[in-house]
């Protein structure tokens, strides 16, 4: 049985830089992740080590850091396609590591051209660094229903207060990118020492992202805050990274299913020759292809001269679609593989848990409402 899964990106999205990087990531995956994947959720040091190699040795952490500071200095013109390819490869290996990197990269990109970028570049060049995104959120009752951290200007400084749960890495981030209500929606960058952390939370998947509730109580320089549309840029790039990550995840589920299906017989025939099973297989593939198409489209329009709002809105659609597809691919593949999909050793269940975690963290209902607000200009919530 032969399964053709390759579906090369459209020509405008191919670049030598992207390919080179994808190759390094592929090698990293083969060496640092693939052999240990069945244990990665139980032995946290595996993910820690792999993450460190990816961030530092391959240098993904410094992807946008200027060459002068030891980074790769990828420019805006190359970024989208580089992210598309890189995160797809990471998604085939470990979505959790990719998730942590998504936050770091989108936060750094959102600061490009500002003083925050200099600060981040220094931090990112100095050694392993993780950035946690502290997004608008629904809160506990003591949080009185404010969705953004509170920012108040006091002289030259800004006082920042907030309590809640970061998107990622709350437990071990070095920097927090905090969504706050400072002249609209802004993003403040806060060092970890100003953040009080609760116990680490056990969660469904994405083991590389160690999270917890945090209390932010900081006084920061005004230069540490990004106003205007920076938060949208952050989300747009985050959505791109996550979309690509999910494409990789969906492809990995296809591959796992293929490897299993090749050996499988049902009612005396190869599995794929039973039409009911073939129909499920087709749906698994279809999800992966659709996700790949949508992620490419997002990448492509990010390279074009378009209205930021339009790109942002489409990035929301793309992230939702790709995370849906990644989950559906894994879920339906598991339907066929049954206990062998559900067992840890089979790897599929890891993709299934990770994909579901990303989908849940995207908080689809909230994003959809935002989308509606965006398109209808209506006042929601």
């Amino acid at each position: 049985m032969m399964m053709k899964l390759e579906f090369e990106n459209i020509s405008e999205l191919r670049s030598d830089v992207a390919e080179m990087l994808a190759k390094s990531i592929h090698e990293w995956a083969e060496k640092e992740v693939i052999p240990y994947r069945a244990q990665i959720d139980d032995e946290v040091e595996i993910a820690d080590r792999a993450l460190k190699k990816l961030f530092l040795d391959i240098g993904m952490q410094k992807l946008v850091v200027p060459e002068a500071k030891g980074g790769a200095g990828i420019s805006f013109e190359d970024l989208p396609q580089v992210l598309l390819r890189s995160f797809e490869e990471i998604g085939k290996a470990d979505a959790g590591i990719g998730f942590v990197l998504s936050a770091l990269i989108s936060a750094s990109i959102s600061s490009m051209g500002t003083e925050v970028f200099d600060y981040l570049s220094d931090k990112l060049s100095a050694g392993l660094c993780k950035i946690a995104i502290f997004p608008p959120q629904f809160g506990k009752s003591d949080f009185k229903g404010f969705e953004l951290a509170k920012a108040v200007a006091v002289g030259d400084k800004i006082k920042l207060k907030g309590f809640g749960r970061p998107l990622n890495s709350g437990y071990d981030a070095d920097i927090f990118a905090v969504f706050c209500n400072y002249s609209g929606i802004s993003v403040a960058f806060v060092d970890a020492e100003n953040v009080e952390r609760s116990e680490q939370i056990k969660s469904t998947g994405l083991v590389a992202s160690k999270n917890c509730d945090v209390r932010i109580n900081a006084e920061i320089e005004k230069t540490r805050i990004l106003t205007g549309d920076a938060w949208k840029k952050l989300y747009t790039y985050l959505n791109l990274c996550l979309s690509a990550l999910c494409v990789g995840s969906a492809y990995d589920s296809c591959r796992i299913l293929r490897d299993w299906a090749e050996k499988r017989t049902i009612r005396g025939k190869p599995l794929g020759d039973n039409t009911v099973d073939a129909a499920v297989i087709a749906n698994v593939i279809r999800e992966a292809l659709e996700a790949k198409a949508v992620a490419q489209m997002l990448t492509k329009i990010m390279l074009e001269d378009r209205d930021d709002e339009e790109v942002y809105a489409f990035s929301v659609v793309a992230a939702l679609k790709c995370s849906d597809s990644a989950f559906n691919s894994a879920d339906r593949a598991m339907e066929l593989m049954a206990s062998q999909g559900y067992a840890r050793e089979g790897l599929l269940e890891k993709q299934w848990r990770d994909a579901k975690s990303i989908r849940t963290l995207l908080n689809p209902s909230h994003l959809l409402l935002e989308l509606s607000a965006n398109y209808f200009g209506s006042k929601l919530w």
Partner: protein, 417 residues
Amino acid sequence: MEFARIREFESPLERYMAEIIRDWGEKYVIPHRRNFDEDWKEHRTIEPALEKLMVDYGIQTAVWPEEFGGWGLGSSDYFGSICARVMEEIGRYDTGIAVSVGVTLWPIFVIAVKPHINYDLCAEFAPLFMRKKLTMAANAMTEPQGGSDIENLDELKGKTIRTTAKLDGDEWVINGHKLWPTNSGGVADLFGVVCTTNPGVPDEKNFAYIYVPADLPGVKQGEPYRKAGMAADKNSDIWFENVRVPKRYRAWGEGLDAKYFRIIISTGCLGSAGMALGAMENIYEILFEKCSELRYRGRPLKENTAVAAVLADIAAEIEICRSAVYTYARMLDRPDYYGDRFSAEMIARGRALKLKVCDACCRVAERAMDLLGHYGIDRNYDVEKHWRDVKIIQLWMGGRQLCQMDVARYFYDCKQL
């Protein structure tokens, strides 16, 4: 909140069992539930909970006839309803424990449920379960090649079974390899083993259901598998190497084994649907609490209409599923009215029920996680545990596809599936 069902058929025994399970669940499961995942191999907190329920509350004796010290559930006119309720109530706390309990009762159904009660075998095995000691059973069915194909009796007539039983004098000699039964991995004391007396020949006469005590020479069990969830349910390999049991350990004999074995399918579907229902109800309870507590822009989460819509879909799904579970349970209660529990009709209806209720349960768990956003993946909110757990209920017993084929065969008179 009690979801929809016909309450007229709730028997006193059912109500009593529901009460003790609620009491047990709050005391022995809830305090430890968040650590079950780490306890998947050792069962340090899971086993005491099981022991309480099975031994102290006596559930492990429930099915056996009264004359052997059991509760005689197998002769009750409320057999189906009670089975469903027990699985529902345990499932509310932990579907892993539910299946572990259910599978202990399961193989006994073949010999201790009206109208097919094998008093000799009851006399033989009941005492094991009357001990004041946790005693479990397992149904050794699935094999490495072909998975749950074995359950596909109507189509394959046992043709693909590779575990063999050969009569040698007054003893069966059993050889084979079974995979993934609940309560394997060292848990079960007694196996009900699906084997063939004539491998490769599609004839129900060759289908043999033989009881094998787990401590016999030649029975070897592997280490439990690590899974996405369902920590309380240990699954492993079992190898039978020239295991010898007395001839009378075969449940009924040629043809009848296959016939009465089918009660395993109908009750297995009911039990699966029942525990999935319990899990959904617990998810509902958690959502009710958390969506009242969590706030978004000044309001409890549940007071936002978009959230309320999803919450409503979930409640409505449970209403429908509970109606269906107890309708089917009632149909199993009264074979005189609805047909034998091992009939093709009741099996097909059971498959239909399992198919839909499991689909609903997985979807409910998914949507509940999505609603809770970053709390959805938090193990302290318990929803994600149910989500991981219940997926395997959908997958076991042949998964969706086998259910679909059985349903199509009966409802559309298909002959060549």
